[in-house]
């Protein structure tokens, strides 16, 4: 059975052209990040600081959660708590029903993807419109986002043009990004104006002031927060930062790491409901507290969802986000996967451990070391594979056996180079030729040419 990311890559990013386009678009973000980070003289110190603030915040999360709740409540917000995805969906659904809401304008939130909020609300008869352009595209395509910052990065302008033609009535063959964006703006504007509630994600929550920090480039979250009277903000408990003073550190890193912008177009610090409105904040655990208790893997909770590790990851760029099971693709998704969802156990193997993710992470998550650690603990070889590993380990620890195995390999090697059903080298042969066997091993030639070894 092939690895889910392998079969996903074949399914979702099938043609050489699609792979090239996806790779080029995503790598462009990496290059923008390099340029933007390179302009900041205190970049490395800033990353150290951000990592340290997050590490402290997570290690005192109980205090900061209570402080945040107190401050947000004082400011007039209503704070809800949800242990898991089901509780989260029920909380939001109930709130909307209590307010007789039928139409919701939603802005980007990976948490709602993680918890399956949209399908839940739709089942309850509530119309949810994703308002981030990329999110809207994937919503209309009835597919999940393939990137945490650029949800429709796997789609070509032709595909989007065809989609908008069908769903928004743009002229057939219209593929100009500006005109397509205008069409989406007009379409979504009417939906904003008729929405009865806005649901937003949260980038940071400040314990000291009870504030929510919501970052977008499009301004869609701000429209969602300012037009309908009801605002529901959803956040994982790991989003808390201790002080307002910590915020600039993260804001200076976030957009530069994500898209190479010095800051996103809109960064709103929202404290309490707006006059005449209601603000409900839902704090979600859904596995985070368990990860918090796992000292070896806690660092993954520092993530600020900038996407830099996806952009630099050569596996992600060649596989596409949809290849990854679970809500978050790429290195951080593969680090969170084993802890957060049942399909994630094999994800740590979808990496060459090249380490580029670790190098770009602005909050110093040791991503590739985490992947290796999960392989060690979470998904060691099982069954036949485990037996083979034990056998190979036994052989490798005994030079004479090792040499006999080498001699045997030399005999069967020509057969291994041919593709046939059940060939143990099929994984190698699936993509490449097996080289000719050189004949004698190094140790044999050394003994022959230089006399016996030591």
């Amino acid at each position: 059975m092939s690895h889910p990311v392998e079969s996903g890559a074949r399914r979702e990013l099938g043609s050489p052209e699609a792979i090239l386009r996806h790779d080029a678009s995503v790598f462009d973000l990496r290059l923008r990040r390099d340029a933007a980070a390179g302009e900041v003289p205190d970049w490395e110190a800033l990353c150290d600081r951000a990592a340290a603030v997050k590490a402290h915040g997570l290690d005192h999360l109980d205090r900061y959660l209570e402080e945040f709740e107190r401050r947000a409540t004082e400011a007039g917000a209503v704070v809800h708590w949800a242990s898991d995805a089901a509780a989260f969906c029920a909380t939001v659904g109930d709130l909307l029903e209590e307010h007789a809401v039928e139409r919701v304008a939603k802005s980007k939130s990976m948490l709602t993807e993680e918890c399956g909020l949209n399908p839940h609300l739709e089942e309850r008869g509530i119309v949810v419109v994703d308002t981030d352009l990329g999110e809207r595209i994937v919503q209309l395509e009835a597919e999940p986002p393939s990137h945490i910052i650029v949800p429709a990065i796997h789609r070509s302008r032709q595909e989007i043009g065809e989609l908008f033609h069908r769903r928004m009535g743009t002229p057939r063959g219209e593929t100009d990004p500006e005109r397509l964006t205008r069409a989406a703006r007009r379409d979504l504007r009417t939906r904003f104006l008729s929405a009865q509630a806005g649901i937003t994600g949260v980038n940071f929550a400040v314990a000291e002031t009870g504030s929510l920090v919501v970052v977008t480039n499009e301004g869609n979250a701000d429209l969602g927060m300012s037009l309908p009277p009801l605002h529901i903000a959803c956040l994982g408990i790991e989003k808390l930062i201790p002080r307002l003073d910590d915020l600039p550190t993260f804001l200076r890193l976030l957009a530069r790491s994500a898209t190479g912008q010095p800051i996103s177009a809109y960064t709103s610090v929202v404290t309490g409901p707006r006059p005449g409105g209601e603000l409900h904040i839902v704090l979600v655990d859904n596995g985070r507290s368990a990860l918090l208790g796992d000292a070896a893997h806690r660092s993954a909770l520092r993530c600020i969802r900038c996407g830099a590790c996806l952009n630099t990851c050569p596996v992600y760029r060649r596989a596409g986000g949809h290849a990854y099971p679970g809500p978050i693709p790429g290195p951080i998704g593969s680090v969170l996967g084993p802890a957060m969802h049942e399909k994630g156990a094999s994800l740590p193997h979808a990496s060459t451990l090249c380490g580029s993710c670790t190098a770009v992470c602005p909050v110093r998550i040791d991503l590739h070391d985490q992947l290796l650690a999960w392989r060690r603990e979470g998904s060691p070889p099982r069954g036949f594979e485990a037996l083979l590993a034990r056998l190979a380990g036994f052989v490798m620890a005994r030079p004479r056996l090792y040499r006999m195995a080498g001699a045997l390999a030399r005999v069967v090697w020509p057969a291994l180079r041919v593709r046939f059903p059940g060939n143990p080298a099929h994984g190698w042969l699936a993509a490449r030729e097996l080289p000719r066997h050189p004949g004698a091993s190094f140790s044999a030639r050394w003994a022959r040419e230089r006399g016996a070894g030591e």
Binding site: S25, L58, D59, E178, T181, M225, D245, T267, A290
Partner: protein, 204 residues
């Protein structure tokens, strides 16, 4: 047990209270000033004008409005009209519903602090009680005292008044609304304003 108690109990069991807060990040020594700010703002798709003496702000804004409005409605938030001085500025009616700004062509608002490293301007809730106005309008004009420009975001945030968060929202605005969700092609005006003009003025 409520979800609240359950979560807090699990979190309490998971934390150690051992890792200290590292303290505030020291503000870097970056170049400040209007020129650097203006360059940055252009880089994020905005346009910076000035700095002009405060008595000239109305005139400069009128020029920008004439360029952008195309006969549409123009609103100047009350806080902005104080800076603009006498003129024909229309202040939005207090009882207008948030969706009432839907067809506004140009909105003029007052910012307090600018950030040279990223072209962002702080729009405080007290100066923008009509929260939807700067997002529904097609063109946004921000007024900013040139003395309010700081080199980096740390010093900029520190320069905000102590009660800056007391009026529901504080928004850092850096250029017009934008998206690159279709094949990484940058398009301005995804949802919010298509343009952003910033008029810097030297306070009287």
């Amino acid at each position: 047990m409520s979800d609240r108690e359950a979560i807090l109990q699990r979190v309490r069991g998971a934390v150690r209270h051992e890792v200290d807060h590292p303290g505030a990040h020291p503000a870097p020594s970056l170049a400040g000033g209007f020129e650097r700010f203006a360059t940055r703002l252009r880089g994020v798709g905005g346009e910076a004008h000035g700095p002009v003496p405060s008595w000239q702000v109305g005139e400069v804004v009128t020029g920008v409005v004439n360029l952008r409005a195309e006969g549409g409605r123009v609103f100047a938030a009350e806080s902005a009209s104080e800076v603009l001085g006498p003129g024909v500025w229309v202040v939005p009616p207090a009882d207008l519903a948030p969706i009432g700004f839907e067809d506004v062509a140009v909105a003029i608002l007052r910012g307090t602090i600018g950030v040279a490293e990223n072209g962002a301007v702080a729009l405080e809730g007290r100066h923008a009680p009509q929260r939807s106005l700067p997002f529904l309008c097609r063109h946004l004009i921000l007024l900013l005292p040139s003395t309010g420009i700081h080199p980096d975001l740390h010093s900029a945030q520190a320069a905000l008044p102590a009660d800056a968060l007391d009026h529901h929202h504080l928004t850092w605005i850096s250029g017009p609304s934008k998206t690159a969700d279709i094949e990484q092609t940058l398009v301005y005006g995804a949802h919010g304003p298509l343009t952003l003009d910033l008029i810097a003025y030297t306070p009287a």
